[in-house]
């Protein structure tokens, strides 16, 4: 019995120790990371972020050095605060407050005390730095913008937040990451890969050599330079033209799908979101909920496309063989339909019209007829609607286009089930006439400016398009991504395009845009005037129409396709058409001969129009 007790004591002790070891080594994982913290110092070697060029090799974005004054609170020694404060132009109160905050954050981990010194401040401080133990200067790299434009394309960079750190283990606190635009889309290419050095430290925090003979160390990989498809001169011109207006311009090269220009208005200068100024400026931009400058209208604004959509209905009509180019359709100031003599109005023009003058004069009755025939060609309106929809979607409408920018909207092309739902089919039936506004690009159809530009490019190409993209080359090597190099075919046969192109050409020569002709360039275009509504105090209120215009030029072998949207700009040729003509001339000729158009655009503002719904007063539209 006595012997047994001694055995028991010994074995119990051993068991207790093994349990304790299990707790320390296996169960409680916090010790493992603690050890990593204090015995191994990890130093990161950040490569330069890649530069960004435009299609002509003009430098848009590069880097500038910036210097942060850092502190490691644990290593602070008493220092001459008066001198320190006078060098850095900071009050003593502020310094004390920031030091306290740094100590609360962590006594061991460096914190920023004064961010982003200029080169001059840095040069002066560097001499004195040794006097202030515990402080050191960290060089950082900030973006340096060589352009005032294209902020929506370029995007910006900022420090990673906690969520990013959790999701993407590459990033640690304080790292920079692309947050919008190309900076976000091509983050991996631009940033390169940071190098890692691990250094074994002893208990006095001294370095005692590389950890495990540099086995785990890596060298930094440089960021890659990007060449964009943007033509920075055209971009700048577009942004100037859009001053005091809201809307977007998208310019594509039909041959390749390259985005030549992507304008959203209003916008901001990219340098506003750099360094110390970023935070207050960003707040200002975010809180502008009326003009919403951070909202890329070129990519995200879904507008009713209006009359330019008629070209698609013409093409579908020809493809479905329910109309030919010869047949003339009469218009009595509109199209009458339904039992109660409902009317889709039209403006005054000669009647009847065949397809080409129908497009040139934008006759609503013509396209209502064509659209109705398309839907009614099939046994049920559902079937007709879905056939029609398939054609429309082949132009890149109604879904994400697949371009390489991080934001976008699908737009909208209605489906038969959509109408089934709103008309409560099969309890009630619906017919083509109920969806008639699709004929003229109103009603259920919505498209973003880039979708409209892409649609125009597909017409310019007579039947196919390349997915729009912003990247031209990475580190000098042209892109090979098949998404951008293989054309997407539309469902319309090539021969059907010529009459529509001719119609669009006549828009310029004798139709709704005849006042916008440019000497020496055969432009094909289509005006659009899109009704739109907003809610004021919960009441649906109509606002002045959006001015819409799509165009491509030259007529044969097109070099440029463009879509312009000007919010509340009234009829199509008023704002959008003028801008489109100017952009085309600028791109193709390099100079402007229609200075009358340019002066008109530069001197006209729509700010008054935009203020109307917020004035609280009753107002008139379409003046």
């Amino acid at each position: 019995m006595r012997k047994l007790l001694l055995y028991l004591i010994i074995i119990t002790t051993g068991t207790v120790f093994v349990i304790r070891l299990f707790y320390l080594q296996i169960y409680n994982t916090s010790f493992a990371s603690l050890s990593e913290d204090n015995a191994i110092k990890v130093i990161y070697d950040y490569p330069q972020r890649g530069a960004i060029y435009d299609r002509n090799g003009r430098l848009l974005v590069t880097n500038q050095p910036s210097y942060d004054v850092m502190v490691i609170p644990r290593e602070l020694k008493p220092f001459d605060t008066t001198e320190f404060c006078s060098i850095l132009k900071i009050t003593k109160d502020k310094l004390v407050k920031r030091l306290k905050k740094a100590r609360i954050y962590s006594p061991r981990v460096p914190s920023i005390i004064i961010p982003q010194l200029t080169k001059n401040e840095y040069a002066y401080l560097q001499e004195k730095m040794r006097k202030f133990e515990g402080f050191y200067i960290q060089k950082r790299s900030l973006r340096d913008y060589q352009t005032e434009y294209a902020s929506n394309v370029l995007g910006y960079i900022g420090e990673v937040n906690d969520r990013i750190i959790k999701d993407k283990p590459y990033y640690i606190s304080g790292d920079l990451i692309g947050i919008d635009g190309v900076e976000k889309q091509y983050e991996k290419e631009l940033r390169g890969i940071k190098g890692v050095k691990r250094i074994q430290k002893d208990r006095f925090n001294r370095d005692i050599g590389p950890y495990k003979n540099k086995k785990f160390d890596t060298l930094p990989v440089n960021g890659k330079d990007l060449t964009l498809t943007i033509d920075s001169k055209l971009q700048a011109y577009g942004q100037k033209l859009m001053k005091n207006k809201r809307g977007g311009i998208v310019v594509l090269e039909p041959d390749t799908g390259e985005i030549l220009t992507l304008v959203t208005a209003p916008s901001y200068k990219p340098e506003l979101l750099v360094g110390r100024k970023r935070s207050p400026n960003f707040t200002k931009l975010v809180y502008d909920t009326i003009a919403i400058p951070l909202f890329d209208r070129g990519l995200k604004a879904e507008y009713p496309p209006g009359s330019p959509f008629k070209t698609i209905n013409a093409l579908i009509g020809l493809q479905e063989n329910i109309v030919d180019t010869q047949e003339s359709i009469s218009c009595r100031m509109g199209y009458y339909y339904g039992k109660n003599g409902r009317k889709l109005g039209c403006h005054s023009h000669r009647s009847p019209l065949s397809m080409i003058p129908g497009i040139a004069n934008s006759c609503n009755a013509y396209f209502a007829t064509v659209y109705r025939r398309i839907i009614e060609k099939y046994e049920t309106p559902q079937e007709g609607m879905d056939k029609w929809r398939k054609h429309v979607e082949s132009f890149g409408l109604g879904n994400y286009l697949g371009y390489d920018l991080p934001t976008g909207k699908k737009g909208k092309v209605p489906t038969s089930s959509y109408y089934n739902k709103i008309y409560q089919y099969p309890t009630y039936k619906w017919y083509a006439s109920a969806t008639l506004s699709n004929a003229i690009g109103q009603g259920e159809v919505l498209a973003t400016p880039i979708q409209l530009a892409n649609m125009t490019a597909a017409i310019a190409n007579r039947g196919y398009y390349y997915t729009p993209h912003i990247i031209k080359a990475i580190d000098g090597k042209p892109i090979e991504n098949e998404n951008y190099t293989i054309p997407k075919m539309t469902t319309i046969d090539k021969q059907h395009f010529e009459p529509v192109v001719e119609g669009m050409h006549q828009v310029y020569t004798q139709g709704t845009a005849s006042s916008l002709q440019v000497e020496g360039i055969a432009i094909c275009g289509k005006t659009g005037t899109a009704e739109n509504f907003t809610k004021i105090n919960g009441i649906r209120t109509q606002l002045t129409d959006h001015s819409v215009f799509v165009a491509f030029a030259p007529k044969d072998n097109p070099k440029i396709a463009i879509a312009v949207f000007v919010e509340n700009g009234y009829w199509g040729s008023r704002y959008a058409g003028r801008i489109a003509s100017l952009m085309i001339e600028k791109y193709l000729k390099g100079t402007i001969s229609r200075t009358d158009l340019e002066t008109w655009i530069l001197t006209h503002s729509l700010e008054e129009e935009y203020a109307k719904p917020y004035s609280g007063q009753p107002f008139k539209i379409n003046q």
Partner: protein, 417 residues
């Protein structure tokens, strides 16, 4: 040396000894080397010195095995007196190392007599208890036995080296085995429990709660005509003990002693000051995970974060570099050694050998328990080495002699009577 004696040496014990010493040296090497060339003549290197200590201990082993068994028994008293004298001599000739005068300086090396005094005391106790005249059930004989144990401890405490003195509690093992009343164990354990309770809670509440318990017990047993005086005495003793513990802790202990207790009891969190050792040791062990970081790859060990890592905290190197599996293996080796020694001690026909054997078990066990308990943060910091493992010549030699005298006694078992 009789030939039959070598053949009957317990080779299992010897094997365990070799494993522990060998593995110990490997860890000392890891804890103290700095990536330089290896030179056997470089005495400034801790692991070189330890290698020589180990080599020399082989000589000691041969000597212990060469000496006749009767010598140990006959001269136990003299050896004991000599060791007491060597301890007393420290007060005159001792060298102060780290605030403790526990060393004789002999050239570049130092000898720590307290490491040898344990074996000497074990011999003396064995001799006394195995005397035909001695009866451990008698109070007078108990007092004498206690005196034999307590004398060296009393001399060691003021050196000051309270850790080494505490080791003498190990002799409870042989005394208990030889028939000391279990009452002592109960009282000792209760006192320890009360001590901890008093530190954790207000002593007033402890006293009140225990008194209530005693009264409840009395009420339950009232029909059996209890002796009221006994209950009363117990209450008085408990009350006195609690308040005196409280008094001693707050007024006699120094702050550093108080801190050590408070940290283990969780009343204080302090990872920079007094708790630094324990905290760093726990970090090092904890970072080892299942299989450790590999020999000589411990980042904590390399960085020297754990103070005294090659001596008292050597087990933290095991934990970091060999992980849970390695550390558990060492624990198991120690447990096997202790069990083997009890097994052997039980087989002794001669009471002298048996008492000595249990003394060896007790001493090794208490070193093992206190050291690993301290390194893993289970008990307060008490600086005593891990047998066969920690760096230190005197320690290694002391444990080697202690163990191999018993191996000799055991090997001689067959020749007796």
């Amino acid at each position: 040396m009789a030939k039959s004696s070598i053949a009957s040496i317990d080779w299992i014990t010897v094997l365990l000894f070799i494993l522990l010493v060998g593995f110990g040296w490997g860890n000392i090497y890891s804890a103290s080397y700095e990536s330089e060339t290896f030179s056997l003549a470089d005495f400034s290197r801790v692991y070189i010195k330890q290698a020589y200590w180990i080599l020399l201990s082989i000589l000691l082993i041969i000597i212990t095995q060469a000496i006749e068994v009767k010598f140990y028994e006959r001269f136990a008293g003299l050896i004991y007196v000599l060791s007491l004298l060597s301890l007393l001599g420290l007060f005159v000739f001792g060298k102060n190392v780290n605030g403790a005068t526990s060393w004789y300086a002999i050239g570049p090396a130092g000898i720590q007599p307290s490491e040898f005094a344990k074996a000497c005391t074990a011999l003396a106790l064995a001799k006394y208890l195995s005397d035909m005249q001695t009866n451990i059930k008698l109070i007078g004989h108990q007092v004498r036995a206690f005196l034999i144990i307590a004398l060296p401890a009393i001399i060691i405490v003021p050196q000051p080296d309270p850790g080494s003195a505490l080791v003498y509690a190990a002799f409870f093992f042989p005394l208990y085995r030889e028939g000391l009343a279990a009452m002592y164990l109960i009282v000792g354990a209760s006192a320890a429990a009360l001590f901890i309770l008093t530190l954790l809670f207000d002593p007033l509440w402890v006293v009140l709660t225990i008194s209530l318990g005693i009264v409840a017990l009395l009420v339950r047993n009232r029909k059996r005509k209890p002796k009221y005086s006994r209950y009363l005495m117990t209450m008085i003793v408990v009350t006195g003990f609690c308040f005196s513990v409280n008094y001693i802790f707050n007024n006699v202990f120094e702050q550093r002693h108080r801190d050590r207790f408070n940290i283990v009891l969780g009343k204080e969190v302090d990872s920079k000051g007094i708790g630094y050792n324990t905290n760093q040791s726990e970090i090092a062990i904890g970072s080892g995970s299942w299989t450790g970081k590999g020999w000589k790859e411990g980042t904590q060990t390399k960085g020297g974060f754990v103070p005294e890592q090659h001596t008292d905290y050597i087990f933290s190197t095991v934990g970091e570099e060999w992980g849970f599996l390695g550390a558990t293996t060492i624990i198991i080796l120690f447990i096997l050694l202790l069990i083997r020694l009890i097994h052997l001690a039980e087989k002794q026909k001669n009471q002298f050998s048996r008492v000595y054997g249990y003394s060896v078990v007790g001493i090794l066990f208490i070193h093992f328990t206190i050291n690993i308990g301290m390194v893993t943060g289970l008990i307060p910091t008490i600086g005593i080495p891990l047998p066969f493992f920690s760096y230190g010549g005197s320690g290694l030699w002391g444990f080697t002699i202690l163990l191999f005298i018993f191996i000799k006694l055991d090997a001689n078992r067959v020749n007796e009577w």
